[in-house]
């Protein structure tokens, strides 16, 4: 009997922020591979062949070997199931369209149990990929059937519906390029860029600056046209005509040629364009009124449809629509011509990653049907050789023309957005040649759109993406503004809560609104909003969402870091109090001081280059974290004579310590006596652990550039009972 193996998931931890593995959110799974511990991949007959056949793209995984095909080489030579699970999950994420590279698999102290971690852009999709990976691996081991394609399609659909859309992603990526953090606020495309009081929100191509009234105006086409026209912008003038007797006069008043269409028609049914003769106009009126609604007569605007994207008063991208034609060969019918001449274009496809749509003559694609009917054809007509048939007057607006836009046209588009009142607008205009002023060619603005799609500018048919995300981010954040509020991360095995409270007091004294999430609650300024342990991911996260928070002081506990990761991506200040060498977290396989060090260092790892790690010089392990900090270091301690302090100060570093009866701020060799200990009330009752908390808080306040006077006043008036 064939042996049956299993992969048993003991625990799945969605790490929602920086964690012991990586700076980015990840999914950590504890997997018990059971008897597979004794059956590395080279011992599983046919496994390598089946796996590499099912997922040939695994060849791209370099793995530890560091070369193309590195991972598959390891599979061939023999590697363990935990490691395979990591790579298969990652590859399934890739195939689902959720690109991710980072993964790790590590043994634990329990035989057969591994911690496997993968970068995750969406928890639900990653969980699904993980489940499929397990099934796929087991099927490959046991040589049973597995629907690889079906599963990948399902994962892809899932990723499409659960991940942020590509337009939003381009804005978020642009923000990321500028080091602006992003938080997704709902299951859709509502994103917060920046933290706390410095945040802005976007919802696809709408921002918190997008005026609701402007959107209402856009929704009212007549009002929009009236407003544009009053400011001198060209629009297709038109009017509703009641009866056939009046239509020719109306057409002449408007100016020939004209378009005649039903007022609330759709798909181009009953629309006739480019009419100049009385008989045609009258016939067109009858055609349009047969649709049952009122009939609109409009100036005919010759040319292509264009979409100009205006962001903050400037045109940042422009795309042109193209008319699609086929040329008859005297043999093929229109169906066939469309297939052979248009749909064969590799840029055409059904999903949104294709810049051009497939053109069909099905019943539900009326526009194309009406277009050919107007020319006297049916889908089965066979046009004579050399005859050109218009298939789509305004197909996908997908051809980038940004560099061709005449400055006057750009100014007109920007003015249209300004008149309506939109910060981000898609201006639809029709013109023969976008490189000439509209007035010269009778071009016109036909519509102003709020929340315009960005995809056509990102994924144009001629392949030149425009940095529209950058422009939108720039409209919300000035140069050099990364949308960050100072975050003070506080961690350690003990003493953190008190330090966090004192820092919060000092921040408030400096006139800023401070949010505090720590072990005894959630505080906004002096108000305790919630009680209980809020030194959690959720507790810290809430502060970052709050526009009334100028500075966030966030405590993180070792188990929280292991379980959920940090609630923030980077911080201005990290304060590390103590690393108790006896502290263990057996549930998380943290048993040694070195393992604990690896947990706590996460808080130091995320300090910004402009930031400061505030480290306890009296705690050897904590002091050892200094080299891990991207920013600078301020040591604090009660013992002025610590060698590490001297060494640090000798290199020009900063330190805060107690010397004699004074708290000293030292900047290199320069010393400032900040506080006389006797000035601190209740000094008699304060033990050294309280004193060290105060000193740590002083150092953190210094790192936040709070003035010495404020720090001194804060410490001297400190009341420790709460």
């Amino acid at each position: 009997m064939k042996k049956t193996y299993d992969l048993n998931f003991l625990k799945i931890l969605p790490l929602r922020g920086p964690n012991i593995w990586t700076y980015r959110p990840a999914l950590e799974v504890w997997v018990d591979i059971g008897e597979l511990e004794d059956a590395p991949s080279n011992k599983l007959p046919g496994f390598y062949e089946r796996l590499s056949a099912w997922l040939p793209s695994l060849i791209e995984h370099h793995c530890g070997v560091g070369e193309h095909g590195g991972f598959l080489k390891r599979v061939r030579e023999g590697t363990w199931a935990g490691h395979i699970l990591e790579h298969v999950t990652l590859e399934l994420q890739n195939l689902a369209g959720m690109q991710s590279g980072f993964g790790k698999a590590r043994e634990t102290s329990t035989r057969g149990v591994y911690k496997v971690v993968m970068r995750s852009r969406n928890e639900h999709v990653s969980r699904a990929c993980l489940a499929v990976a397990r099934d796929l691996i087991l099927a490959a081991i046991h040589d049973t059937a597995f629907d690889v394609t079906g599963n990948i399609l399902r994962l892809r659909d899932m990723a499409d519906s659960l991940c942020i859309g590509p337009s939003t992603a381009c804005i978020v990526n642009a923000a990321d390029d500028r080091n602006i953090p992003a938080i997704r606020l709902n299951d859709g495309n509502l994103m917060q860029l920046g933290y706390g009081a410095r945040q802005h929100r976007i919802w696809t191509a709408e921002t918190d600056q997008t005026s609701a009234i402007a959107e209402t105006i856009c929704g009212d086409k007549d009002l929009t046209k009236t407003l544009l026209q009053s400011c001198g912008l060209p629009i297709p003038e038109g009017c509703v005509v009641e009866d056939v007797a009046a239509v020719w006069d109306a057409a002449q008043d408007i100016g020939l040629p004209v378009v005649i269409k039903p007022l609330d028609g759709n798909h181009g049914r009953g629309v006739s364009t480019n009419l100049s003769k009385e008989a045609d106009v009258i016939a067109a009126f009858k055609l349009a009124s047969a649709e049952g609604s009122e009939v609109l007569v409009e100036r005919f605007i010759a040319g292509n449809e264009h979409r100009l994207l205006v962001v903050a008063g400037k045109v940042v991208a422009a795309a042109r629509g193209e008319s699609a034609f086929v040329i008859g060969d005297g043999i093929s019918d229109l169906h066939q011509l469309i297939e052979s001449q248009l749909n064969s274009d590799p840029r055409r496809g059904v999903t949104e990653e294709f810049p051009l749509n497939i053109i069909t003559l099905e019943e539900d694609h009326h526009t194309v049907l009406f277009e050919i009917e107007r020319q006297g054809y049916t889908p089965t007509s066979i046009p004579a050789a050399g005859v050109s048939v218009l298939i789509q007057r305004n197909g996908n607006v997908a051809f980038d023309v940004t560099d061709l836009v005449h400055p006057d046209v750009a100014a007109d588009a920007a003015l249209a957005a300004r008149i309506v009142g939109l910060d981000i607008a898609g201006i639809d205009l029709v013109a023969e040649n976008i490189s000439k002023p509209l007035a010269e060619q009778g071009g016109a603005i036909v519509e102003v759109n709020a929340g315009p799609g960005l995809l056509m500018h990102l994924n144009s048919a001629d392949g030149s993406p425009r940095p529209v995300g950058d422009a939108i981010v720039a409209s919300l954040f000035n140069d050099g503004d990364d949308g960050r509020i100072p975050i003070v991360g506080v961690s350690g095995t003990h003493g953190c809560n008190e330090v966090a409270h004192i820092i919060s007091v000092l921040v408030q004294l400096s006139g800023l609104r401070c949010g505090l999430a720590c072990a005894d609650g959630h505080y906004l300024g002096r108000r305790q909003v919630e009680t209980g342990d809020r030194a959690t991911w959720t507790g810290g996260h809430k502060l970052l969402l709050n526009p009334a928070v100028d500075v966030a002081v966030i405590q993180s506990k070792p188990q929280g870091i292991l379980h959920e990761g940090l609630p923030y991506d980077r911080s201005q200040v990290a304060v590390l109090t103590h690393l108790d060498q006896t502290f263990t977290l057996p549930d998380y396989y943290v048993a040694t001081p070195d393992q604990l060090f690896n947990v706590l260092r996460t808080v130091v790892d995320v300090v910004l280059a402009s930031g400061v790690a505030v480290l306890n010089a009296d705690d050897e392990k904590i002091a050892d974290m200094a080299p891990l900090c991207d920013g600078s270091v301020i040591f604090f301690g009660l013992k002025a004579e610590q060698a590490i302090l001297a060494e640090h100060r000798a290199k020009g570093g900063r330190a805060v310590f107690v010397q004699g009866q004074q708290v000293i701020l030292a900047n290199g060799s320069e010393e400032t006596a900040l506080i006389v200990l006797s000035a601190i009330p209740q000094i008699e009752q304060i033990g050294t652990e309280h004193l060290i908390a105060a000193v740590a808080a002083v150092a953190a306040a210094w790192a936040l550039n709070i003035s010495n006077d404020v720090i001194r006043a804060g410490i001297e008036t400190l009341t420790l009972e709460r």
Binding site: D208, S211, I213, C231, H522, L545, N546
Partner: protein, 857 residues
Amino acid sequence: MEVSRIRALRGPNLWSRHTTIEAIVQCTAAECSILNLAGFETRLRARFPEIDDFQSCGNDLLIPIAHVLELAALGLQAHAGCPVTFSQTAKTTTDGIYQVVVEYTEEKVGELAFELAQTLCQSALDDTPFDLAAALHQLRELDEDIRLGPSTGSIVHAAEAQGIPYRRLTSGSMVQFGWGSKQRRILAAESDRTSAVAEAIAQDKVLTNMLLDAAGVPVPRGRAVLNADDAWAAAEEIGLPVVVKPQDGNQGKGVTVNVTNHEQLLAGYAAAFAVSNEVMVERYLPGHDYRLLVVGNQLVAAARRDPPHVIGDGKHTIRQLVEIVNSDPRRGEGHATSLTKIRFDDIALTRLALQNFSADSIPEKGVRVVLRNNANLSTGGTATDVTDDVHPEVAARAIEAARMVGLDICGVDVVCESVLKPLEQQSGGVVEVNAAPGLRMHLQPSFGKGRAVGEAIISTMFSKDENGRIPLVAVAGTNGKTTTVRLISHLITTNGLRVGMTNSDGVYIEGRRIDTGDCSGPKSARNVLMHPNVDAAVLETARGGLLREGLAFDRCDVAVVTNMGAGDHLGLNYISTVEDLAVLKRVIVENVTPKRGIAVLNAEDPIVADMASSCPGTVTFFANDARHPVMRTHQARGLRVVYVDKDAIAIAEGKFKHRFPLADIPLTQNGAIGFQIENAMASIAAAWALNIEPAIIQKGLANFINDAATAPGRFNQFSYHGATLIADYGHNPDAIIALVKAVKNLPAKRRLVVISGAGDRRDQDIRQQTEILGDAFDEVILYQDQCQRGRADGEVLDLLRQGLRGAKQVKNTQEITGEFLAIDTALAQVKAGDVCLILIDQVDEALAHIAQRVAAG
């Protein structure tokens, strides 16, 4: 009685500052005095007893039926509730024809009132019935339908009180405040800063609940549910009682509160699911519903909202009790009254059933019977103002909620026992935040004080000293308007502002022409004031538009009247004398901003100078001669004057004096062209009125270009074969006098003139043109064009020829048909050293023709 023309004057006008209907009413001889119409007044008063006392118009003590019509149209509006008081009937120069003007607040209501007034008069004439109640009802309905609703109205009134101009953009609630680049918009209680994203957030109750919780605002615990079973599971997690509601509903639709058991929960789920696919269950908070209105960062009003209910008296059925409550005259059908009638519909009956009542139950005395779950005023609920009771901590939570969602104007719904205590002390919470909140409950609460919420909203859009206006200069007069408008615009542009300008050539924004043709009317002016890139407006204000529609603005900072002269379109629209015309052009002077506004008036034109007495602001006089009595007395009083001081234009006020050398004003050609000096003086005065520094004015004067390209038809000079050609669109005697003066100042061997006459002028004015020329020119080429504007072929030429009779200087006269041919004829005859004035008719074409001939050499 026949009404031949009705106009709506939408701005300050000839008659008053009010918006008015103006009608031309023709009365038969008998109707010119109603005394001739036996029993008419009695019959009329029987039909409309409230009509005012009649008063005779004019000196003949007669009361024409036109006056009755006027008072009827006014009275009908007034009794339908429109705040109107002004009306007038004026005789015209034609017997039996009267101009009747009646104020309106809503144009359509005014028009309807005018129609109904005619019907009323006719019924009194014919002794047929007239249904006054129906007429008033019709007017009232129409007025309620189209006038601004109470929320929007309160904001608009607050704006008006601060002097902010407004304009409705739609027939609905969208209103624009201010002008040009200072404009702002509202849509009911949304401002143009109200964020679309914030509104979308407020629509999503789960998201809002999460965000408010993150902001430290107490909210009921709850979650979205998948189906009815999950709803019950959620209810058990959260703890009963709960509320079941649609995730994205509004106005309380589909909301069931105080659900205490499984059965109620299933019913509630069904009701919510009918409104939205996404349903949420949340903790039911006991207490009252309060609405806190946050504007900017302030709590500006708060109301307790009670659902519609009746109190049993042990005698009446619930149905009867509702009728009794609804008979309260304060309860109306729509939004116009402070209370709305209680709806006794299926929803009410369902609610009654929950309390084990039916419509015919007779509740015991004192029993409170609730008829609906939600407390909206529109379904009969009541609102009690509690603004002064709100505890500061409660207010702070409401403000934090609005800020977290991102709404500048926000209705925060709070449920708690009392707003006197912090929410945290009473398990109260914020259950919803609303964008575009209704304001009626705060403006006209059912009980308690109304609050100034419109003022609060305006204060977030405009600071106390702002009124949303941009500097506005209006220019009227007979000649020189266009050049003056252009020069003033140029001076303002030089001062760094983006100028919108209208004149008889077009509309210009920042120097770019956006419309062509005669744009000196109110429509073009309104367009300039709408344009978001305009920091200052300079508007030529011609008579036509003023007569047709009134002014496009309620007031201006500077009104310039260049001159009046004679003969410009007299005879049209019952304007037959220069004095009548003066009344019309004076309108801009009458409407300068009180106190701060300045009228710039030509002291040497007595009619213009007289307008000073109509100016509610101050006056700057300009004149060539500082010794003119008007100038001397004005200057002696320390007031502003502008005059020619030897080789410069001087401005003076008290001890202050500044000179602009004519040599540095190219427009005047070193002072040679008199009428351009006048234009420059008017423009300098206007720029000075706007506090532009003399150095800036100097700079602007120096680089102002006035040629055929920038000012077509305004003294455009060309050099041709050593001769000077001057093309001008001079078209009235005064313009021609000015041109003649200027041409005489230019040295010349011989002076030629090419001239035609426009057929729509009076004979005497056409004749006068050539009379003026006769003494200045050696050669005259008369021409006529195809377009004779209603005159017979040769008629105009004949008039022109008559004017030349007895001319002293003229040596030779030729007659040509066709403008181009006349120009060619002149060009064939000019020699070096000659000056030839060409009075062109088709401006652009003729200029192009001349330019082409000049270029060809």
